[in-house]
Amino acid sequence: MHVKVKLYGTLRRLSQKEKPGIWEGEIPFEMTAMDLIYFLGTTEKEIANASINHIVCPLSQSLHEGDEIVLVPNIGGG
């Protein structure tokens, strides 16, 4: 199953080299947003919010083919 993940803040370190802020590729079927976070190499501790196709969702939500997932950490401004 193919998904696109947009990564912000410190999570940018998980992006693919040629695409800053993006991870795009195949993931196993039946993954939730929480599974994806571990799949990418971090834990829920670093995540403030996730959205799937522009709608903020709980981490227990299942992913589907073609989903665009946004992961954001806790972040302040300046």
Binding site: G9, T10, R13, N49, V56, G76, G77, G78
Partner: protein, 643 residues
Amino acid sequence: MEQKYDGFHGRILRVDLSIQKVSVEEVDPRLFRIYFGGGALAMHYLLKEIPKGIDAFDPENRLVFMTSPLTGAKMSGQGRHTAAALSPLTGGLADSQCGGWWGAELKFAGYDGIIIHGKSKHLVNILIQDDKVKILDAEPLRGKTTGEVQEFLKEAYPSVRILQAGPAGENLVRYACVSADLKNFHGRGGLGAVMGSKNLRAIMVQGSNREIKIANPQGLKEIRDWFNKNLKTHPAISVHHELGTSKGIVPVSVSGLLPTYNFQDGSFKYAEEISGETMKKVLNGKTETCYACGVSCKRSVEGEKGKFKVTRQYGGPEYESIGLLGSNLGVNEITAVAALNERCNALGLDTISTGATISWAIECFERELLTEEDTEGVKLKWNDPETYMELLNDIAYRNGFGELLSQGSNGASQMTRRGTEKYAIHVKGQEPPNHEPRGKWGVALGYAVSNTGADHLQSAHDPWFTQLGDFSKECNWIDLEDLSPVGIIDPLPAEDISGAKVRLFVYLQQIWGFHDVLDWCIFTSVPEFRALSLYQLTDIVKHVTGWRTSLFELMKSGERWATLGRAFNYKHGFTSKDDTLPDRFFEPMREGTLKGHYVDREKLEEGIKMYYEMMGWNEQGKPTRGKLEELNIGWVWEEIKEL
């Protein structure tokens, strides 16, 4: 002039513009030990010297520029300085820190601060070159943009650092800012208008003694080397370096905390289009830095789209400006946002209050509380950057509808009435920055009790403290672990205002406060990043000053800063009634991730009461005599006891 003490000179320059007199005041070094510097030392003078009941534009108002013993030390985050005065926007305290290079240059010239009073008969500049201080005619510069003035002055004095008010300051726009070399700002509180009211356009500084004498250079070098080595691999700081504060736009929008459409919503559909990531791509974003800082997080952008063009002359927009000139006005294109930011900088307007005053007007126009008769024919709507661009000029030069807007959203709504007051989103007259408090109640408390009006640099951004972190990972923004040295150990929900949250707030306010009095950039340390720890911060102060200081004393200096600000406001007529939020924040959010969330009014009021108790203030928010004595500022009691 040889530096007398480790870290500071003990010399303050006094300029009386009414009689064009300049003098140098030797300062008791004990004052630096008590106050450290920055906002607290500035308030020492403001409290003593500004008479009760005067207007901010009265020549008797003082405009104080202050550094700290750390300013100019060779360490990241030490290029900042403070400006403070009676604010024309709030009628209370204006206390604002500014980055860049000017503060360090003032130290190199042999001064810790400048106190300006009186009013010149015509527009002047002050030129400081070590012991040579001159007051020069600036009338030919009247009305010119900050960029034009910078170029003109740099041609005559190529090596000076320049602090200046823009045309907005000259014209007494209540939220006019002060810019430092065009790219750094005392944004808030209308300090540019105080400069303008004194007929002072610019302060140029050049110092020849370029080394600050410190007590333990080797000790400081060790921390500097550690910091410089680690910042390259520190994930949070490397993102901050790459994108600056603008990194926050999308995460904050997804989290439902991005002010949108005059604080009606918390998520912006086009956040990505105005994000730091997009700015980097579309406007060829590069980084710049402040004095001696390895983090290098300032923006520099250039580009063109349609009618909008931006150059690198004014740097580039920060997170706060992108929000208030972007999402909060519905503007969905980054070049337009950057162009509005650049125009504000050229005119000397605070981007936050400017954006929020325009968004107030748009909402009122939409609700038919303002008509074309009020706006002098301007049809107001969201996402109309071309109209906003024209309004900026009208505000700065106080033409047409700009005259009303030059008063700020509170002032303008008080003049208009007809229910427009409800949509003026402000605390004590100052508009909030780019942080929605309905999802973080520590920020709500901070907005309400801040002595300078709504201000996000007071205390807890709650989401950081909702879980126990993984300290070993060293890759996060700060969290609870970083606060464990002061006894904060339990996670708390973001929408909470319990006793435990107020305690977290009080301690964090002390931490933010000692950054303020030391003129220290928060982006190098707790409270913003897990970079320099509270212990390292303490060691840096020891190495620079040679004082046998401690984290306890640093925390106390932050508490003293908050209490001095409180006493200043109390003297100028503020009471607990002013410690509140606009109604909007007590109402459910209209759209976004946190749709329906609101601040619980009763709980906030309870939290404010508890905050006073923890601070040693009475029910009116007035510092008690015992607390003032405990903070070693017993003299302040004389200023407020009769009130």
